[in-house]
């Protein structure tokens, strides 16, 4: 049904990805997801509630972490389970550059039933923004 991956072994690394997030991207995600919290588009509001500036939607970061795995798999339907903890916000400056989220993944385990566990790391400005991020996939 889908392309066959070459044999996957524990310790294999997924192709890394670097995704820039601008204010425009946040507006687009707000519209697509229905999450119009002003902390994702208004600096004055963000500061009012104690943030330095606008931050990205946590679920957008989770979506990017998931995409790292689905790109590798080829078929998103092979994701069985995935989860993250939201540990640190991604600040998105209004400078035309925005923020850059660096994503990497590693095969933590390969099961005899044709599944594998992938551990995912998401960083912004060298600091982790997700904790315990993983995906259980069907190879």
């Amino acid at each position: 049904m889908t392309t066959t991956l070459s044999p996957v072994a524990k310790g294999d690394r997924l192709p890394e990805s670097s995704v820039s997030i601008t204010r425009t991207d946040l507006v687009r995600y707000a519209g697509a997801s229905g999450d119009f919290n002003p902390i994702h588009h208004s600096d004055s509001f963000a500061r009012e509630v104690g943030l330095p500036e606008v931050i990205a939607h946590g679920m957008l970061t989770m979506a990017l972490a998931t995409k790292l795995v689905t790109d590798w798999l080829g078929d998103p339907g092979r994701i069985i389970e995935h989860g993250v903890r939201f540990t640190r916000p991604v600040e998105v400056p209004d400078d035309g550059q925005g923020a850059t989220v660096e994503l990497s993944g590693k095969v933590a385990d390969v099961g005899e039933d044709g599944t594998a566990k992938i551990n995912i790391t998401a960083k912004c400005a060298d600091q982790g923004v997700l904790g315990g991020a993983y995906a259980l996939v069907r190879l």
Partner: protein
Amino acid sequence: MPGSTTFSEILLTASVIGRLDQGSRGLGKPAPAPAGAGFFSCCGNLRVVPLDEGFIGREYPPSDPYEVGREKIREFAEAIKDDSPLYRDTEAAKAAGYPDVIAPPTFAMRLSVLAQEAVVEDEQLGLDYSRVVHGHQAFRHHRPIRAGDVLVAVAHVDDIKARAGNDFLTVRAEIGTAEGEPVCTATSTLVARGTAEEGDQA
């Protein structure tokens, strides 16, 4: 002010507003959170009623049906910068074995939010929404969501516990078709800051 209809980071905002409302100390840059506690680990001094553990196991009525549209899926895929043809090209999706285009895995959050509204609005549970942050999110997919699905979501309270002065509420949303086919199980841990009785300190 944030509304109550969307969930993930509104929770974050609301939590900080909650701190403002308490008239507690000034707001600096958020401190790194300990494991499992969401963005903000610090709690205020107020002692409010903790969540009742008797609600563990409670199930709420299903959400209104949500019809998944092809263009909504495409729009969501654009927003997460994912160019997979399976999200936008019906022929590519069929070639991969699906009856229609499928949705990115985290699209399921839309349904999870619909289910959680019943929990947030339960006055008996009394979740102080202004103190809640989204601490953890997980999905277990039984099959991909796809265009044409008419989905409903049912919220279950899986766990309530107090830790370090915060209440941790785990809500599981069982997402399925209106006909009853299971599609996704979405589990969210919501952290109500400073609402538990013990261990609370500034």
